[in-house]
């Protein structure tokens, strides 16, 4: 299983281009981090990948099938999305929200099978929110809600995970748990793609990095190649130096000044 985009071009109606000639390949067994400043096209890319936006040019291939030729339901069995805009005011319990992840499987009026409920509880446990199962979703904290939404994506049992800022609202302990979970899912043979804003923690768990800038790919490859100081200052306009003293640790030097040559 892999996910490919070829020469993707996308613009919202009456808007400027958001994605320009983007070609990428995401393989099973690897965690890919999508980096880039606000508005660089990361979320739009994810929404093109699962077919909820239709690109004006280029192809999206899920395995060997064109996303444009699959129904929303077929795609939902292949790709589980964690998006940034789940409504807060959902009148469901946390368990019911996770069970919505079983929607692409089975008939519409069907009751939740004991297997579905069992699976949903396991997913809640993986995200450390098992004790919130019967609580109302709209009464949870932001971080708890986010973990319930990720549990819903797990319950979809899809071979591809597209997570848009999955670590938002999470404390540092749960961020680490989340990234380890992503690694575990990749190790089971899944494609995992995460949009990340955090340049300190996420890079430790990412096998492959993509840096987007204004709708184009600025750099792609290993995390060390992509998150070089030159790239960071060019794309984000911030003076950060990242070092990897060992494989599993990271050191960052941040100078909160405007870098030379940025014109600011």
């Amino acid at each position: 299983m892999n996910l490919r985009v070829e020469n993707l071009n996308f613009a919202y109606q009456h808007g400027p281009p958001v994605l320009k000639e983007v070609s990428l390949r995401f393989d099973a067994g690897r965690v890919t981090g999508l980096f880039g400043p606000n508005g660089s096209g990361k979320s739009t890319l994810l929404r093109c990948l699962n077919g909820s936006l239709h690109p004006q040019g280029g192809h999206v291939l899920i395995g060997d099938r064109a996303a444009a030729k699959l129904s929303p339901r077929e795609i939902a069995r292949l790709i589980a999305v964690v998006s940034q805009d789940t409504p807060v005011a959902l009148p469901f319990t946390a368990l019911e929200v996770v069970l919505l992840g079983r929607y692409p499987h089975g008939e519409s009026w069907r009751k939740d099978s004991p297997e579905d409920v069992q699976l949903a509880r396991e997913c809640l446990t993986k995200l450390d929110v098992a004790e919130l199962a019967e609580r109302r979703f709209d009464q949870l904290s932001g971080g708890e809600r986010q973990r319930v939404i990720i549990a819903r994506a797990l319950a979809q049992q899809a071979p591809v995970m597209l997570w848009d800022e999955p670590a938002s609202h999470l404390d540092i302990n749960h961020q680490l748990g989340l990234y380890r979970l992503a690694q575990g899912l990749a190790a089971e043979g899944r494609v995992v793609v995460m949009v990340c804003h955090d340049l300190l923690l996420a890079p430790l768990f990412v096998d492959q990095a993509v840096l987007l800038n204004a709708g184009s790919i600025c750099a792609t490859g290993s995390i060390g190649e992509v998150l070089r100081s030159a790239n960071i200052s060019k794309v984000f306009g911030v003076n950060v130096t990242l070092n990897w003293p060992t494989n599993d640790s990271i050191a960052a030097t941040l100078k909160p000044t405007v870098p030379a040559g940025s014109g600011g």
Binding site: R47, N50, S52, S71, P72, R73, E74, I75, A76, R77, A80, V81, S83, D85, T86, P87, V88, A89, L90, P91, F92, T93, E96, L100, G101, Y103, P104, E107, S108, W109, R110, K111, A133, E134, R135, R136, D138, Q139, Q156
Partner: protein
């Protein structure tokens, strides 16, 4: 706090299993009571005898089968249709305060019916059939108009609600204007505006029954889709639901159910708002547990309200809309005092 709430939810889930059977039982009891009371009281024994076809009392049979039973059945099916249309509206707009009236469909259907009354007066025609037809047409036409005006909006709900409110106001202004043209037909126009079931006969009961049953089955079959629809367009799409298609279908279903109900009984408010809202407090928002109790609850409420309407001031009739509005509004106020409505932030 945490434990109490989770216990609340557990209890709610357990209660929900008994809800549909209990409502069905209550409905049967209410129907028996409704058959028994009226200008002539009929004892339960006689009712059972007549229902089994063993009655030799022709007058009793006539009252039961020609007057009371068809009216009770019509009330039940209309009440169920209104409650189901209310549930569909609340899910469509992801707003527990929505009802079919917010998209103008009840006002459109009432306008159609009133035009029917006036036309048939002009051409000296009995006219009831024409009113039924035009109220169906009015409801569907208004829904189509509101959909056409509202679909350009960025967010489905907002533009549609605004268009609905504007078109509803327009329809009700036109209807009020027609009161001045009504002359001796004023009485029958007031019927459409205030709602009532005194014209309901076997014809009406048999007209609305299949539509209500169709609505019930359809909403039940869609119940998981409706759950996912509460997530909003993007997340629904991510889970594999084509939400715009479901929204168009729901709109059509609401239009058909509501127009059909108005064409039989005039505009009866508050059932569509209050029944799904109240039951959601017991079952939670899962439509697989909510759809059937909503239909039963709507039927129960309108049968009770109609029984009060025809007996309290007998032989005069009180418009049933007054009862549903009074009970609906008071229950609603009580809920607002007690706890915030389900689904509001």
């Amino acid at each position: 706090m945490t434990l109490n709430q989770s216990a609340d939810n557990e209890t709610a889930r357990r209660d929900a299993r008994w809800l549909a059977p209990m409502l069905l039982l209550a409905l049967l009891v209410a129907m028996m009571v409704a058959l028994a009371v009226g200008s002539v009281a009929i004892s339960p024994a006689k009712i059972v005898q007549a229902l089994l076809g063993q009655s030799h009392d022709d007058v009793t049979s006539q009252i039961l089968f020609d007057a009371r039973l068809p009216r009770i059945l019509a009330a039940g099916f209309v009440g169920a249709a209104l409650a189901l249309a209310g549930l569909a509206s609340q899910t469509l707009f992801r707003n527990p305060l929505a009802s079919p009236s917010v998209i103008g469909v009840s006002n459109g259907a009432a306008l159609g019916a009133v035009v029917g009354v006036l036309l048939s007066a002009r051409f000296n025609h009995e006219g009831y059939g024409l009113s039924v037809l035009l109220s169906l047409g009015g409801g569907l036409a208004v829904t189509a108009l509101v959909f056409a005006l509202g679909k350009g909006g960025r967010y489905f709900g907002h533009a549609l609600l605004l268009a609905g409110i504007a078109v509803a106001a327009l329809c009700s202004a036109l209807t009020t204007a027609m009161l001045y043209l009504a002359g001796e037909r004023l009485q029958s126009i007031v019927f459409w505006l205030m709602g009532g079931l005194w014209l309901a006969n076997w014809r009406e009961a048999l007209l609305v029954a299949p539509v209500t049953l169709l609505g019930l089955v359809t909403l039940f079959v869609w119940s998981r889709d409706l759950n996912v629809a509460l997530l909003g367009e993007r997340s629904a799409r991510d889970l594999g639901l084509d939400l715009p298609r479901l929204q168009r279908r729901l709109l059509l279903l609401i239009a058909v159910l509501t127009s059909m109900a108005v064409s039989v009984s005039g505009v009866i408010g508050f059932i569509g708002l209050i029944v799904p809202h109240l039951l959601r407090l017991i079952t939670g928002a899962d439509h697989r547990r909510l759809v059937v109790p909503t239909a039963l609850g709507g039927a129960l409420l309108l049968i009770l309200a109609d029984t009060c309407a025809r007996t309290l001031a007998s032989p005069a009739e009180i418009p049933v809309g007054i009862f549903t509005a009074v009970t609906g509004a008071s229950v609603f106020l009580w809920l607002l005092q007690k706890r915030r409505p389900v689904g509001t932030p």
